[in-house]
Symmetry: C2
Subunit: 389 residues, 2 copies
């Protein structure tokens, strides 16, 4: 079922923009989406602005969206500030879907924007820490990268065939994709030995397996009617992760649960998905996510990265944008950057990094954006299933 | 037209709760709404959490709703953190309306919660300042109370029949309502001379004309189906105020514009409205708002407060809860506290402060919640029109 349509997307290249305000970072993404959609600021009936760290980064709380969008000529409409840590942008997009589906709005803007370079890495890291349940995390001494490291270690223990080099190969593949992406923060292909030899961050993760600090923005114009060239949103799911009374519990992961709801909404099976953007906040997460999404069997990730299936020219291209490790991770913008990439890929507008849909009956893409941490799960999970018809 | 239904509301009495966490402040409101609606945590399919200052007050950013609702047994569902300064709760309610109208959700929770007592009034005031466009406000040396003072002065100049004592009479009337409201922060009736004689804050406003710092929460269970005893949401409008290139402009106010859209959605005229909760962040605002809402003619406010029309037993009871000056203003909770009051009034569940609907064909209530400031307007305006059928 078509829930809503994406008439156009736009992106401000991710990178280091220390002198730009949030409004200045957002503007190219908004303008780009307007140009693609063939709309202007006056056509937008409601706007959802996803941002996680702007209050801490700039001092502007509460009405960030109003201040940001004023710069792009948008004022006087409903502007809703939404926050869900690294899944803020998927959450903004989901709200835009609800808005147009409600029948009260015809055209909505979903924007994700983030400013993380504030001149002091320690300050940025303390800002990021506020996206976890701080009470629990302080008590347990946890930190985001350490959780990804633990998940990677567990994967290697659970699937003895998998090796650390497989995770490095994920990062290497994504760096080759990022090299071809003009919106990417890091545009340099890296070899597996380079990734392995980079500075250790949290054992077994090395620097080049980790996503970076970035400034950036991405936007989508969402409509109830299908405009020329639009991409359909077939599935749109936001879930919060579980607080489990007894820690890790058996059964499907929260990501798997969200995905199964999205597949049901969309009326597609995992086999229909021809291009994927997942939330590789650390490179091993790409394999875990692709498995959780039902796109691979459990433990099949290592084999899939080795046989080239997940590469740009493979049968299941994952993170053709370069993913979080190479395109970059401007956290409140990431979910919409993923969706922008999917729209461009589905339309075959992705230039040198274009994937192929040869032999596929349908042209379907899936984005997985996750955000924040409770003590034993992601705090927010966003899955969007798109199709070009 | 019925957009959605409110199956139940709940409120944590506003006041000073310095030792309570946001989760502890929220819990009684959530539980109260569940009990009224006859639902449990497991019935909630999506939750919208409005909060403005929690990041600054507690250090928990980004996933506040997840951390807050965990305490009330809600986990694993979509949880969306929404922010719109003092209109955060009306914004959360509007999102809940969109969610159930979208057809994707049957039962939604809208929660507004705030913790403003952080042991240091100067810190609270600097937190509140972040709800304005900080760039513009710093440049112009503006501050919220000064803007209300300027608006009051302008009203007195524009309508020479109006006197400062009329604004004091608004505060006195609301203090008499607050005295009867067990959810109110201030439960002491004040006379006009007492209000006039209280400490000057920003000329011409005195202390007892101003809303206070408060902790508190309010919640509503919103459903697509009308459950037993439910109140219908006929109109639900959120607008951001205008950034005008040339300062104050002629034409209808942003509040008036939002109200006219809400009346149109609701299929009601101002004359149908039998009970009103407005955003008297300072007492004079009550008269300005009631006029902007089309419930009185421009400049008629002074006469209306003098002849008792706006009193609890008047023909147009305004702020029977005590309003922001007496019930209190826990900023991210206020919009839902207004709606809770309307639901109780419409159901005749408001105890000693119950208004009368004698001679009215319909039982309609209206809530106006405003929030934040751009340089020349409110940053967010929420209008909800409710009816008990």
């Amino acid at each position: 079922m078509t829930l809503a349509c994406i008439a156009g997307v736009g992106m401000t290249p991710f990178g280091r923009l220390p002198d730009a305000s949030l409004a200045e970072i957002a503007a190219p993404a908004v303008t780009g989406a307007f140009v693609e959609a063939g709309v202007s600021a006056q056509d937008i009936e409601i706007a959802f602005v996803g941002n996680a760290l702007g209050g801490l980064a700039t001092g502007q709380e509460s009405i960030r969206g109003q201040v940001i969008l004023r710069h792009s000529g948008i004022t006087g409409i409903p502007i809703v500030n939404v926050e869900n840590a690294c899944a803020s942008a998927a959450t903004a997009l989901h709200q835009a879907v609800l808005a147009v589906r409600s029948g009260l709005y015809g055209t909505a803007l979903a924007l994700g924007v983030e400013k993380m370079y504030v001149g002091d890495t320690a300050r940025t890291l303390s800002m990021i820490a506020t996206a976890s349940d701080i009470g629990e995390f302080e008590r347990h001494g946890l930190q985001f990268t350490s959780l990804y490291a633990m998940a990677a270690s567990r994967y290697l223990r659970e699937f003895p065939d998998a090796r650390l080099e497989d995770f490095a190969a994920v990062a290497a593949k994504n760096s080759a994709n990022g090299e071809l992406n003009p919106y990417a923060q890091f545009r340099k292909a890296r070899s597996v030995p380079e990734v392995m030899a980079s500075r250790p961050i949290a054992d077994p993760l090395t620097l080049l397996m980790c996503s970076s600090i970035a400034d950036g923005a991405a936007a989508a114009v969402v409509t109830s009617e299908r405009l020329e060239g639009a991409v359909d949103i077939l599935g749109s799911v936001i879930r919060s992760g579980l607080y489990r009374p007894n820690g890790f519990a058996p059964g499907p992961s929260s990501v798997g649960l969200a995905a199964s709801i999205a597949y049901g909404q969309a009326g597609v099976s995992p086999g229909d998905v021809g291009v994927v953007e997942v939330h590789d906040a650390a490179a091993p997460q790409e394999l875990l996510h692709v498995e959780d999404l039902g796109l691979l069997e459990r433990g099949e990730g290592a084999a899939a990265i080795r046989d080239g299936r997940l590469a740009r020219d493979g049968t299941l291209p994952v993170n053709p944008s370069g993913g979080l490790t190479s395109r970059g991770h401007a956290i409140g913008a990431t979910g919409l950057a993923q969706v922008a990439e999917l729209v461009w890929q589905l339309r075959e507008d992705a230039g040198d990094r274009q994937v192929r849909f040869d032999g596929r009956e349908r042209r379907v893409g899936l984005a997985l954006n996750t955000g924040g941490r409770t003590v034993d799960d992601r705090a927010a999970i966003g899955v969007h299933v798109l199709e070009l018809r």
